[in-house]
């Protein structure tokens, strides 16, 4: 091997080695610095927590509280004076850190306060310029900045941000849409469902779970919007509406849901609708469900049997017994499980099977009795 080539290669590798070593060393230094900085930030957090708590807890004379809003705000401004003047000092770099810490403190408080103290907090967000800052950030090119801004606006309960949030429902980045969704609900309650279900590009299961927490909090107010959503074109929105109506237990939803359960819709939508009929427990769904136990699709038959068992339709036992005889093993299990929940008659049939002459049915019956899992698990 030529010496020159060797030297070149040697130099190259040495250079890379030095770079790597520098990288490693700088990492350790960075870690130590970060640890130190966390301590400083911790102290700052402490100071601001004290200051913020003071603002939030200071007694306000009742005449001012029940007086004109402008006077109340003037009072709030007075309380905010110390923090404001503190923010005016110092260099720009430190100012950013201070504002960030203050924002963090105020955001933390947003989760835990209610009542008049919470109103004060909202005022602070506006007065200190945080709300406008976030609205500006919603137009940033980086998706995580937009998403964090959307989240903050929800936490602040800043109604001024509602327009940008509604627009953000159609943002090209999923995380931004998700945060906008949550914030809109926080700001507008169930009313926000209309925009959300219509405008976001599909409701994933994750979204559905987050939204369901909100619906659970405002059951009655959500119902009209959910009913409306049953006629939307986006299947995931319809599916969400069905599930929520069943969850809330709004029995009158049986009528529109029945139409969906009848068919002519995507398969999983039909299955969701059938299950919902069971959960709603209303007898208006019985006739359709009995018909569906004769459907050519085995999944539909099984869902229908589960639903009938939940409702407890007495006459269903005959239909279900059909499937015990005619179905494959998985269907037999579902059928016997349903029988076990169809009143005394159904239970008697199961006991008969347990002591009957068909070994397979004996073990199915034993399984159901020993392992009586709730329907629809």
């Amino acid at each position: 091997m030529k010496s020159i080539e060797f030297l070149l290669l040697f130099a190259l590798t040495t250079a890379v080695t030095i770079v790597v070593v520098l990288l490693a060393v700088s990492l350790v230094i960075r870690k130590a610095v970060a640890v130190a900085r966390t301590l400083v930030r911790g102290k700052l957090y402490d100071i601001y927590t004290e200051a913020a708590a003071k603002v939030l807890l200071s007694e306000i004379p009742s005449e001012v509280l029940s007086g004109k809003p402008s006077e109340l705000f003037a009072y709030y401004d007075l309380l905010l004076q110390p923090i404001r003047s503190d923010l005016l000092e110092d260099s720009k770099a430190f100012l950013n850190q201070k504002r960030a810490t203050l924002k963090g403190v105020l955001l933390d408080f947003s989760q835990d306060l209610s009542g008049e103290a919470r109103e004060r907090l909202t005022y602070c967000y506006y007065a200190l310029g945080f709300v406008d800052e976030e609205i500006r950030r919603m137009r940033d090119r980086r998706w995580w900045v937009r998403a964090n801004a959307a989240r903050a606006l929800g936490r602040y309960r800043a109604r001024r941000g509602m327009f940008v949030l509604t627009d953000a429902l159609e943002d090209k980045r999923e995380e931004v849409r998700s945060q906008a969704m949550k914030s809109l609900i926080a700001l507008a309650g169930p009313e926000a469902l209309r925009d959300i279900l219509q405008r976001s590009k599909g409701i994933s299961r994750w979204h559905a779970i987050e939204l369901s927490a909100e619906v659970a909090k405002f059951k009655a107010e959500s119902v009209p919007l959910l009913l409306e959503a049953l006629s939307y074109s986006e299947p995931s929105a319809v599916e969400f509406a069905i599930e929520m109506l069943a969850e809330v237990g709004f029995v009158d939803a049986v009528e529109p849901i029945r139409k969906i359960a009848r068919g002519g819709v995507p398969a999983n939508l039909q299955l969701t609708a059938i299950e919902a009929l069971g959960r709603l427990g209303d007898t208006r769904g019985e006739l359709l469900l009995l018909q569906l136990t004769l459907d050519p699709n085995v999944h539909i038959r099984m869902k229908a049997m589960d639903a009938l068992a939940r409702i407890g339709t007495p006459g269903a036992a005959e239909f279900v017994l059909e499937r015990v005889a005619a179905g494959e093993l998985p269907e037999k299990i579902v059928a016997v499980r349903a029988l076990n929940r169809l009143g005394e008659r159904g239970r008697r049939i199961v006991r008969d099977l347990l002591n009957g002459s068909v070994p397979q049915l004996r073990s199915v019956a034993a399984h159901v009795i020993d392992f009586a899992a709730p329907v629809g698990t």
Binding site: F10, L27, I209, S363, F371
Partner: protein
């Protein structure tokens, strides 16, 4: 004739050096991809909120499958900690793989188990099931114990899948220590994207950490050398390796210690294959293959959040047996799914992931080993070109160090689970030191595994079982 030998060895050296440089470049690219993925993940993490997941009725149920073999000393504690996870609805299915000790009896006693006449449908074929047990106490209502004839981990998992009824299942080792919110984190990708069929979690080394009630309470480094080397290795493998592959949907390994799957997808693929010791990797490879062949859209995702901790081997015997087994598993996968290698039909998996695992992971140790061997031969023959040797060592050293440092860097920039700067410095130092002996040992073990594979060594090594048990009951 002798001139011929020298010539061959010379060429071989050139080849190895080029190989190492090529590997370096590959690692660097992987590192960059991993970095981007982790940055994205951390940002999404900061936005995430699991409160709704814990409370909603829509949250899917999960079956946690834990195959157990001769774990009488630790099984009760493991099960108890598995029952205390922070998740809505899930069942814990312990599959007793024909233990020859008192594992089953211990469980029956501790958890008030009684036999149930639960119907067992062998959707996936496996060794026969002897009995199914549930607890009589309501507090263990979600515990299910299946007793079966011995058949190995893959077989036990298949039984677990047969018994489980939920949409998702999570395959773990009986001695995996899960974090409280592990299930939440690992189920999230499935809920965000319907195409996701499998997610893998990161496995971290528990040696040296403080463990209370089956939970890692504070993170530390073992005082023994071997586990610390493995910490760096795991960083390399998980953070800078798997994370990078995920970005092109080419993740080929999901650790057997913790992985979650969509039950339907695995059943359709045929379940785990008991004929291989690398059942975790083989299943994932097969999932890729089938979905690509049938043109079904799918994603396999990696969750880099620390979710699972495991006790790493602390003795050379156990460690070498483990590495031997892993390598033989890799050979199985290559043999069974070699059709994907460099085959454009299989997308990034065929074009990049399979070749990487074949040339770098599988054959890498062989190249390196023959590198050392050639040096020895040349030295004996006195025709050693010192420059070449120095170059060889530098390049191979660099290849190890760069990747290790990069991996530790990734860890530090993202999860930063080791709060003490001293630990960080130690890990970095180990990243360098491991190239002076530790790595060479693993190279030798892996080269030897080729011989064992040829001899058709199919088991996990019964001798190592007792040592696994011993290693497990010892906490640092």
């Amino acid at each position: 004739m002798t001139g011929m030998l020298d010539f061959i060895l010379d060429v071989y050296f050139y080849w190895v050096i080029i190989y190492f440089i090529g590997v370096n470049i590959t690692y660097s690219i992987l590192l960059v991809f991993s970095y981007r993925e982790i940055a994205t993940y951390m940002r999404r993490q900061a936005l995430g909120d699991f409160r709704a997941l814990l409370q909603s009725e829509l949250t899917p149920s999960v079956s946690l499958l834990a195959p157990a073999f001769n774990e009488e000393a630790t099984i009760v504690e493991s099960i108890k900690s598995l029952l205390k996870l922070n998740y809505g609805k899930y069942e814990v299915v312990v599959i007793n793989d024909g233990s020859t000790d008192k594992t089953l009896e211990t469980m029956i006693g501790e958890f008030d188990l009684r036999e149930v006449r639960q119907l067992y449908i062998p959707t996936l074929s496996a060794r026969p099931v002897r009995c199914i047990y549930r607890s009589s106490s309501p507090e263990y209502g979600n515990l299910l114990i299946v007793d079966k004839e011995n058949g190995g981990k893959a077989d036990a998992l298949n039984v677990g899948i047969n018994v489980s009824s939920y949409e998702f299942f999570c395959a773990i080792d009986a001695d995996s220590l899960l974090e409280e919110d592990a299930l939440q984190r690992v189920v999230k990708p499935f809920l965000e994207d319907e195409r996701v069929i499998a997610t893998g979690g990161i496995v971290r080394i528990a040696n040296g950490c403080e463990i209370v009630n089956g939970r890692v309470v504070s993170v530390g480094l073992s005082r023994k050398l071997l586990p610390v080397f493995q910490v760096v290795e795991y960083f390399r493998a998980f953070l800078s390796g798997r994370m990078g592959w995920q970005s092109s949907n080419a993740l080929l390994i999901i650790s057997g210690a913790f992985g979650m799957f969509r039950r339907r997808a695995v059943v359709e693929a045929g379940g785990y294959n008991p004929a291989t010791v690398g059942e975790d990797m083989e299943l994932v490879a097969r999932l890729h293959r089938l979905h690509l062949e049938r043109k079904i859209p799918y994603r396999i995702v990696f969750v880099p959040d620390p979710v699972c901790w495991t006790q790493a081997p602390e003795t050379l015997n156990v460690l070498s047996a483990q590495r031997n087994r892993w390598h033989r598993g890799l050979m199985d996968v290559m043999k069974m799914h070699g059709v994907m290698l460099m085959n454009r039909r299989y997308g990034p998996v065929g074009r990049w992931a399979m070749p990487y695992f074949f040339f770098v992971e599988l054959l890498g140790p062989v190249f390196e080993f023959f590198g050392y061997a050639s040096i020895l031969v040349l030295a004996i023959r006195g025709s050693l070109d010192l420059q070449m040797v120095i170059l060889f060592f530098i390049v191979s050293l660099l290849y190890g160090v760069m990747f290790s440092v990069g991996a530790v860097l990734l860890e530090e920039l993202s999860f930063s689970r080791y709060p003490n700067p001293k630990h960080l410095a130690l890990l970095l130092a180990m990243g360098v030191l491991e190239n002076f002996g530790y790595r060479q040992m693993t190279v030798w073990w892996r080269v030897r595994s080729f011989y064992d594979y040829a001899r058709r060594k199919k088991d996990w090594g019964t001798m190592t079982r007792t040592e696994f048990a011993k290693a497990k009951s010892r906490i640092d």
